[in-house]
Point group: C2
Chain length 365, copies 2
């Protein structure tokens, strides 16, 4: 398959994603042996701190704020009456309204809003292609090119140009969030039916059978799971894309919010910022991302292992170790926001702990 | 064995520990089914939120601040040259000085200080019995009755009166922290050699063999592990206490910082506050705690499963599911502080998420 050229803007974004700073990582690893604690006593937090040093190019990384960017979109495959989801597609715009609701405690009454407030993260909401007239709201970023994808069972979910448009929209919102003070970007999503395209993307990119990556999403019953699995198989059977052309796979089997999250990841990495991955849908965007720009992997951190079948396979491919396993399966970026304080804490150990020498304590390497 | 009467003050503290509020828990469980998310999609966070509702007596719990209370003490069994630890006992006072150091970023240059700053927790430091002239410092609470315990291999680590004194000191510091704004108490510890008494306590309270609960602590080698195991066996072989007399076990096999942490847990629970358990030494205090006051278990939350052998057995006995497994084995309360934002987030979901009805979305139970 001849792969079409990328748009110049996307090509530039991909080229800007550079590997982590090896010198800073080596210095951070040495520093962890000199800090006032037994060798290795902070466990995985030490590895995380070293990876953060690589992202931020300093053995004393100082990430500022945390932003969660929630992209919402609808899906052709879910347009009918509960074919692949436990919820009707009307829930997508209703949840967007919920993200933006004026509540007694602030903007938004969804889980991601509540958790973000608890940990001091800022929430951004993007219409990436919701099938509804969304209300005007200053906090809603409008990036839709269409009101939902086409049904991936019968043809490409979107055109290549549409995919690029959403990637660039995700990148633009990320630049805004970084300008507003975020150094840790959490891509999040809302889209009834979106674990179906995520499953199809994952199956194609990893060469796995549909059954290995198709799960219960928001909690579907056996009959719906059977229909969902059939939908994923049907989409794959069309043979509309090939893993050697990751952008083609995204257009063929993806979702608008998945494209937007891909853009967030690429832009965050290109700016030298860290990306916290939430769940399975985010993971599917990351698979496309590392295929386009292998160095993206250096900027990715896994929050939890979510309950969705196939997430473990994504994390294994991305070589990421999840920080917790709380059985989350909500999406919205909730798991990523929940894990953000741990990343900030890992960086703080490198930056704010004294060395044995500074503390005048015998020890260290 | 006839169990001596408790001091009136300790008896009152124990009596004040009451079971969680069942009505608030039931209301919270119902509320979790009405919040704008798929049923169960927040996984373990939902169970945690329900338990917090029980502790705070409200289906919309609103914990304020987080405090980590680090009690430091020395141990007779570790007084000699590295019998049971990779570090000499001089490290205990040196680390206390580190907790209190004036650093460019604030009070303290230890891991617990750095992590606490990252998550907005306040650190308190207690001399529970350190074998050194500690410097005067306004942030150091002096509660020592002796400069380290006696060697538990050859006789009781402390007297019953000493144990009570430290329990009450831990309780007093907890009242101070609560008065300062904490609703979430993280007991923490520093004491070279203290996984040895923790192992002995755990073996006796759970009826386990010493080998099942004696681990590598700060990272000891095989020869030191053998000596440590022999020390635990020797202490147990004296037969100086019986699990039906938990205070007697604490005095016989414990440490001053373990007694202080027990007091923190009892006082926090008695005031209707939540306790976040860090690692193995904290867990040994909790075992004594639930034996004295079974309702204490309702107020306990487990941060991570630490790397120390025997921690899993403690958590199973306490019926607690750890929130993460990051391989931490540092102590100081670091894991508890790291997990605190997750507890705050769990409470926030109950308090700040809209219900389906409030959001005008079809769904919910």
């Amino acid at each position: 398959m001849t792969v079409p050229l990328l748009s110049p803007e996307l090509a530039a974004l991909i080229a800007a994603v550079q590997p982590a700073h090896a010198g800073a990582m080596a210095a951070a690893r040495t520093r962890q042996t000199q800090l006032t604690k037994p060798l290795g006593a902070l466990g995985d937090l030490e590895d995380i701190s070293v990876r953060l040093a690589g992202v931020f190019g300093s053995d004393q990384p100082h990430p500022r704020g945390v932003a969660v960017l929630v992209a919402a979109a609808d899906h052709g495959v879910a347009a009918g009456p509960q074919l692949v989801s436990a919820y009707p597609p009307e829930v997508t715009p209703a949840m967007v309204a919920n993200f933006l609701a004026d509540t007694p405690t602030g903007l938004g009454g969804a889980a991601v809003n509540a958790i973000a407030r608890a940990v001091g993260a800022r929430v951004y909401v993007m219409d990436a292609g919701v099938n509804a007239d969304l209300p005007q709201h200053p906090a809603l970023v409008r990036a839709a090119v269409r009101r939902g994808t086409s049904d991936l069972r019968t043809g490409p979910a979107m055109s290549r140009d549409e995919a690029v448009a959403l990637i660039l929209a995700g990148a633009a919102l990320t630049r805004q969030a970084v300008q507003d003070g975020a150094d840790l970007i959490v891509p999040g999503e809302m889209g009834i039916g979106n674990t179906t395209p995520a499953a199809a993307l994952t199956a194609r990119m990893l060469g796995l059978d549909a059954a290995a990556v198709t799960g219960r999403g928001t909690g579907i019953d056996d009959a719906t799971l059977e229909r969902k699995l059939a939908a994923v198989r049907e989409a794959l059977a069309r043979g509309g894309s090939d893993s050697t052309d990751p952008l083609g796979v995204l257009a063929d089997l993806g979702g608008f919010e998945i494209a937007a999250m891909l853009g967030m990841m690429l832009q965050a990495a290109a700016l030298g910022k860290a990306v916290m991955l939430d769940g399975f849908v985010e993971g599917s965007a990351a698979l496309i991302g590392v295929a386009l720009a292998p160095a993206l992997a250096d900027a990715l951190f896994a929050a939890g292992e979510c309950a969705e079948v196939g997430h473990a396979a994504q994390l294994a491919h991305l070589n990421l170790k999840p920080m917790f396993r709380l059985g989350l399966r909500l999406g919205e970026g909730t798991g990523g926001v929940l894990a953000a304080p741990m990343l900030l804490a890992a960086a703080a150990t490198l930056r704010e702990m004294q060395t044995f020498a500074e503390a005048g304590i015998p020890g260290g390497a």
